[in-house]
């Protein structure tokens, strides 16, 4: 061996290593802060805002833990935040109470800190919540007090999370909203509703027949669905709390795929009363047929009313395989909007203001995946890829997230993902599900 050369080379190697380490160290730069809206909800390339949610002190322990879990889940799934690991915290929580010592939160990389105090007396629950921006010092930028019963815990947690998201982005979050879906069983299927985070599932349809394709009314008070309970696929409307439905449409053949008009006065449905499935608009009051939107030999189905009420998207195989078309809600000529692949179904509109975006299911290489399509810019975004089958998308009330049914290896169920595809989907409900429909924002 050549000991001298060896030493020299070791030294060179060490120098190179030091250089690499120095370069790595310089990568993590300081993040910029702007005025007004702090997180741009439409910015696809934004970084996630690091926020700390320490466990409350001087509180009811179990309730405080549940509240911390609710807030962490909400902010995480919103797609805007990175919720920091509580194990890293350096603050003296006992001494801080509802305040903060900013430097100690800077030292763990937090830009925002949520403090709260939750106390239960008897059945009463009181929640004091504060939001701090670490760069703005030790006075809270948002303060709220809530009072309710113990059973209101999740509701209050969601209300507060919505305030936090609104503070940062200028628009309300979707926390506290509900999802309707179909739970498939052996020989029957049930229309159900569940909180967006998977809590409190309950049955809407209460029969042993096949029930499918639920649709929330714009006010959130009712759910329309199709049921075979009287052997024909008829359209029913039930209270969103569940229970006995009223039959709205029982035309000969199918009465399926209802979608409410934004004012709640009408429903777009698929009827086959004239021989083959066509799109009709019917009255939400008595089911009377008002307008026939399609008329051809092909199958037209799966209508979805646009949030401004002017258009209806639907699926038609008039040009071969199923593709997405859009037709004026008052009737007129339909135009094809989906041009990717040979099989596109289940369109749904984003409720985000000022946008004209749909999501749908596309078949790609034998698998089903969710994509979004901006009808103005024609920009397509994949929401899922290479993870089982993903079908039947539905947007959150603010349009920033998409729920869908997935059979991925992580388990079948309902998943939600940011609508810009910026982070992976999270499962909120597990089971064999179809027909996802995300309900409207909860009333404050």
């Amino acid at each position: 061996m050549l000991p001298d050369e060896g030493k020299g080379l070791t030294r060179i190697a060490l120098a190179a290593l030091a250089l690499v380490l120095a370069l790595v160290a310089n990568v993590g730069g300081a993040a910029a802060q702007g005025g007004g809206v702090i997180i741009d909800a439409t910015g696809a390339k934004r970084g996630k805002y690091p926020i700390a949610i320490p466990l409350a002190v001087a509180s009811d322990g179990a309730v405080a833990r549940e509240l911390a879990a609710i807030q962490s889940f909400n902010l995480d799934v919103s797609g805007y935040f990175k919720v920091l690991d509580p194990k890293s915290f350096l603050a003296d929580l006992e001494a801080e109470k509802l305040g903060i010592e900013p430097q100690r939160w800077k030292d763990v990389g937090a830009y925002g800190v949520i403090k709260y105090r939750v106390v239960t007396t008897g059945n009463t629950l009181e929640l004091e919540a504060r939001l701090y921006e670490v760069s703005k010092g030790n006075s809270a930028v948002l303060t709220r007090s809530y009072r309710g019963t113990k059973a209101d815990l999740r509701k209050l947690g969601h209300a507060w999370s919505n305030e936090v998201v609104k503070y940062y982005t200028g628009e309300a979050g979707f926390f506290g909203s509900k999802l309707a879906f179909v739970s498939r069983g052996k020989g029957s299927s049930t229309v159900m509703a569940v909180d967006f985070d998977g809590a409190n599932p309950y049955a809407i349809s209460r029969n042993t027949s096949t029930n499918m394709l639920p649709a929330w009314s714009p006010s959130g008070g009712q759910i329309a669905y199709t049921s075979y309970m009287r052997n024909n696929p008829d359209l029913y409307v039930a209270s969103a709390a569940g229970g006995r439905p009223t039959r709205l449409a029982a035309y000969r053949g199918m009465n399926t795929g209802a979608s409410w008009s934004p004012d709640g006065s009408k429903l777009a449905v698929t009827l086959s009363k004239d021989g083959n499935p066509e799109i009709y608009v019917i009255s939400a009051r008595d089911g009377a047929s008002l307008t026939r939107l399609t008329n051809n030999k092909a199958i037209d189905t799966s209508p979805a009313w646009s949030p401004d009420g002017s258009q209806i998207a639907f699926v038609s195989d008039r040009e071969g395989g199923p593709q997405i078309f859009v037709v004026p809600a008052s009737g007129g000529t339909a135009r094809r909007v989906s041009f990717n692949g040979s099989y596109n179904t289940t369109p749904t509109w984003s409720p985000a203001k000022g946008e004209s975006v749909i999501a749908y299911t596309t078949r790609d290489g034998g698998r089903y995946d969710i994509v979004t399509l901006d009808l103005k810019t024609k920009k397509m975004t994949r929401i899922t890829q290479n993870e089982g089958n993903n079908e039947e998308p539905s947007f959150s009330p603010n349009g920033r997230a998409i729920a869908f049914a997935s059979t991925r290896s992580g388990g079948s169920g309902i998943y939600i993902a940011p609508a810009d595809g910026s982070s992976p989907a999270v499962r909120v409900y597990s089971g064999a599900v179809t027909g996802i429909d995300w309900g409207p924002a909860p009333r404050p």
Partner: protein, 144 residues
């Protein structure tokens, strides 16, 4: 006429790769021998005595060790037993990949090295030692 021997004066235009391969093999062996050595010990960038100012809006994240071996991370006292978890989960450390260590002069070398080893285990890419900037190093005292 006898048999013709040798190649005469013809030029051989091909590259002679033998020395090249020799050098490469030697280099390979040297790297194989030195690589394990690089992983032992604690890498550290020795601070320059005339250190540049630290430009960081939030101030650097400093781990201080006082003469009684008590640790302070930023402004918070931490125990030796929880130091690794605190550093490992720290979002700032993850982003900046750097930790400044400020150790009291009287501390044994082993204590400082232990702190640095814990930082390395916690995934800190770069540990920097803070010094008091001074112009007159008291080298005479060290010789005594």
């Amino acid at each position: 006429m006898g048999m013709k021997t040798g190649g005469g004066d013809d030029l051989n235009s091909e590259i002679n790769v033998t020395p090249l391969v020799d050098v490469m093999l030697v280099l390979l062996i040297i790297f194989m021998v030195t690589a394990p050595l690089l992983n032992t010990g604690v890498e550290l960038d020795l601070p320059k005595v005339t250190a540049q100012k630290l430009e960081d809006a939030d101030g650097p994240l400093v781990l201080s060790i006082d003469p009684n071996r008590r640790l302070t991370l930023g402004k918070a006292p931490v125990k030796w037993g929880e130091l690794e978890v605190k550093l490992q989960t720290n979002e700032r450390v993850k982003k900046e990949q750097v930790l400044y260590v400020e150790a009291a002069a009287a501390l044994p070398y082993a204590v400082v090295v232990t702190a640095m080893a814990v930082a390395k285990d916690a995934g800190v890419a770069k540990v920097l030692l803070l010094t008091d900037p001074t112009d007159n190093l008291k080298l005479d005292e060290l010789d005594r």
